[in-house]
């Protein structure tokens, strides 16, 4: 949808909108894709929506660069009592200096997401407690997701590149650019005079707040840097921790060390090219990522998926959940000092499931299996029998082993009970999702709250624990494996014969009508959302991923404060981050 059509879209008389009676002048326009809100009144309206209307869960924040204005989009849901999405859109017409008030005072979960918008789109949020770049480094020039930003290797606005067709005349990117590399410097930039801007770890540096142990002695506050190359950070993640003695008094996550420009590349790719890129988001669970993305595009295209394909999708997604949880549990024990043994057990079972993926999709890890309207290939002969053997015989025994070996372990119990506690209200306010949210006593599961695909046909329980600590997160993951097995049994029993793609010729170039779609699924790590804006061209106009682990990290400081530094590692392990998804 172009900006013109949005501006002239059928709008109800905005003045009579019920929210305007409470917060006068807040809703400027009610469009089909959400409420256009005045930036001056949005904080007031947000507070009202949270406290009176039950929109307590700020799921996604993103931004769109339209020719006339920047648009910041907030997707709100209800978590305590499930509610349908409410979309707030703020249009900032001053393209030279876009500023709007921050909503972090209402929903803490907007914290990192607003920083991301600031980093990549250059919208400033007034009143944000820590507004600095999050994925790129301090001092980087430009805001890459703006439409006028061109990378050093920029070739053409959209793929497939015409210069290479039809005669395939390819030129090395390095040969085209002045510096023979993927860099560009501002004109007249002098490397000898360059000083990197100093990063202010504002909140955690303040030594004046040092409290000591209560005996009148002032304990010196020390900054400890963990990562980006550290065995317990699960990849290239970095934490800056302020400690007094052994106690954590401040923590700031630093990320972006694996920022692979997923969204910028995705906006240049055609729709079908992006499926392969979604594999590489959360690289432990590629099938789930495929599913989320194709659901979003199918929503735009209005495609009907054949029955058999729906079942295959559910089977693949649940197998992926089992892999992801087994690895999460295994590496959580790694962080606790059970060096690699539980992880090796998890990896062993993962290989068996990957064999199934390889047989169906042709690739172990990056499956690239789902397509718009179905799946890429039918299951090969004997696949279902192998899967049945795994689901009915092998995995339940493995789970028994896991329970016997791990759950009752005394060290594990004493290290995890009461560590990293988040209450239900905090978890919702921090926009936690997936096992993190359910372990805090909020039985919220997208498969149940807003069923997608054919999840409404299966019987399963939403696993939830009231404790809100690391133990509860471990327990929820283990319980979810049982539920996944339960779904798998029903799906394998019910798997019908039939086509796997809608009728018609297979298309490499799909026609996606103009519009906007947001599809969310219950990924293994939380609510995985794909936000696609189409303007009718072969490439998405805007493509955004709501990465669950990125947003789950918002509460990392809150969970860690007051604990020992050794517990920080365990708490991070229980968040179960995958850096490909955190940094995108």
């Amino acid at each position: 949808m172009t900006a013109e059509t949005i501006a002239t879209a059928q709008a109800t008389a905005a003045a009579s909108h019920p929210y305007n009676e409470v917060v006068p002048g807040a809703v400027l326009e009610a469009t089909k894709t959400g409420l256009v809100v005045s930036p001056d009144r949005i904080v007031e309206l947000a507070r009202y929506l949270r406290d009176e209307q039950g929109y307590d869960y700020c799921s996604m924040v993103t931004s769109i660069d339209w020719p006339q204005y920047f648009e910041v989009v907030y997707y709100l849901y209800g978590a305590a009592t499930p509610k349908d999405a409410l979309v707030l859109r703020v249009r900032l017409t001053d393209k030279a200096n876009p500023v709007m008030p921050s909503l972090t005072s209402v929903w803490r979960g907007a914290d990192f997401q607003e920083r991301e918008v600031y980093d990549l789109m250059g919208v400033r949020f007034e009143g944000h407690p820590n507004l600095r770049r999050i994925l790129l480094w301090e001092g980087f020039e430009g805001h890459p997701l703006r439409k006028d930003y061109k990378e050093p290797y920029f070739e053409e606005e959209s793929k497939p590149f015409k210069s290479r067709h039809p005669d395939g005349a390819h030129q090395w990117a390095e040969d085209r650019v002045p510096w023979k590399d993927n860099v560009s410097y501002p004109v007249g930039w002098d490397p000898d005079l360059w000083r990197s801007p100093e990063v202010q770890y504002r909140r955690i540096m303040g030594v004046d707040e040092a409290t000591g142990n209560g005996d009148g002695l002032r304990t010196e506050r020390i900054l400890v840097n963990m990562g980006p190359q550290h065995p317990s950070t699960h990849g290239v993640f970095r934490m800056v921790i302020a400690v007094e003695g052994e106690n954590v008094v401040g923590l700031e996550p630093e990320m972006g060390y694996l920022h692979r420009c997923h969204e910028k590349i995705g906006e240049r790719n055609t729709y079908i090219m992006n499926i392969a890129f979604t594999d590489r988001l959360d690289y432990v669970s590629s099938m789930s990522n495929n599913l989320g993305y194709v659901l979003a595009v199918e929503k735009l295209m209005g495609l009907q998926v054949p029955e058999r394909a729906e079942y295959i999708r559910v089977i693949m997604a649940e197998l992926t959940r089992i892999i992801s949880h087994l690895i999460a549990v295994g590496f959580l024990f790694n962080d606790l000092g059970a060096y690699f043994t539980p992880a090796l057990y998890g990896m062993r079972e993962r290989e068996l499931i990957l064999d199934l993926f390889e047989a169906a999709a042709g690739s172990r890890m990056m499956c690239n299996y789902m397509r718009f309207g179905g799946v890429m290939a039918d299951l090969p002969a004997g696949w279902v029998e192998r899967a049945r053997n795994l689901v009915w015989n092998r995995l339940p025994k493995v789970m028994e082993d896991f329970e016997n070996l791990l759950s009752g372990n005394e060290i594990f119990q004493s290290r995890t009970h009461g560590v990293g506690v988040l209450t239900a209200a905090e978890a919702i306010n921090y926009s936690m999702s997936g096992p993190m949210l359910r372990a805090s006593g909020v039985p919220y599961d997208v498969r149940r709250a807003e069923p997608y695909s054919i999840y409404d046909r299966f019987e399963f329980d939403v696993c939830s624990r009231p404790e809100g600590d690391v133990w509860a997160r471990f327990r929820v993951r283990m319980d979810e494996i049982y539920q996944s097995l339960r779904i798998l049994k029903q799906a394998l029993d019910g798997l019908p014969e039939g086509p796997i793609m809608p009728p018609g010729k297979k298309q490499y170039q799909v026609r996606v009508p103009a519009g906007e779609a947001y599809a969310r699924i219950e990924g293994p790590k939380g609510e995985l959302g794909f936000f696609v804006v189409s303007d009718g061209k072969p490439n998405p106009y805007r493509y955004h991923v709501r990465a669950p682990t990125f947003i789950n990290l918002t509460s990392l400081e809150k969970m860690t404060l007051g604990h020992k530094i050794a517990d920080a590692v365990v708490i991070l392990g229980a968040v179960d981050i995958v850096l490909g998804e955190v940094d995108r």
Binding site: N182, P191, D192, S196
Partner: protein, 215 residues
């Protein structure tokens, strides 16, 4: 490896006494030295992206890196012999990787695992992606794939071993005073990634711009 063992290490015309033949095993210093290095090559515990998961799979039960004496992943670069660059190298991460490489003691080897570490891979056009780690540090073996299968990585590791066996203690640069390895110059995160090799050219442009401003 057998064909590299000398059949007889004694001077021309001399024979080993019969009773010693069963107890004494003659070989060259190079062979022992290289055999020891190749069979206890400790990789650095250093995962960057998706390929790191396949690297862990190589360590795990089915593919079992311990068969090569390589199961001890060292988190500290000071104890590591081999850096497996397993994944996309982002500009933000690159200074850290170069620093880790400089901290590794000689002899050290680098294996670029996957398309991204080799050339930038599918993400090459990205504004935060380095098009191949070999633009900054020397690479011994490239393993193609996205991600390479564990079998491919094992094959790549065996090629590293082959390379080790071709080296000689007499000519190894890390024992020679005249071939001391200088540390790789540290890239800097400026407005974009600053590669020290561009310094002269950048200085010229900067001076020209300054002159134009004053003129």
């Amino acid at each position: 490896m057998n064909q590299q063992l000398p059949t007889n290490g004694l001077p021309e015309g001399q024979q080993l006494p019969e009773d010693l033949k069963k107890n004494v095993f003659l070989t060259t210093v190079d062979n022992v030295y290289n055999w020891g290095r190749a069979r206890s090559m400790w990789p650095m515990m250093f995962g960057l992206a998706c390929c790191a998961i396949e690297m862990i799979a190589v360590q795990a039960a089915r593919f079992d890196l311990s068969r090569f004496g390589m199961e001890i992943m060292r988190a500290s670069p000071r104890q590591a012999d081999l850096m497996i660059v397993s994944g996309t190298v982002s500009k933000k991460m690159l200074p850290n990787i170069v620093r880790l490489y400089n901290q590794m003691p000689e002899p050290k080897y680098v294996l670029a695992m996957g398309a991204c570490a080799t050339s930038g891979g599918p993400f090459k056009e990205g504004y935060n992606v380095v098009s191949g780690i070999d633009k900054f540090i020397p690479v011994d073996v490239y393993v193609p794939g996205c991600p390479p299968t564990p079998e491919a990585l094992l094959y790549g590791l065996m090629r590293v071993h082959e390379k080790v066996f071709k080296q000689s203690v007499k000519t190894a640069p890390w024992y020679r005073k005249d071939q001391l390895n200088e540390p790789v110059p540290q890239p800097v995160l400026g407005p974009d990634l600053y590669n020290p090799k561009d310094r002269e050219a950048l200085k010229k442009i900067a001076e020209a711009a300054q002159a134009a401003n004053q003129g």
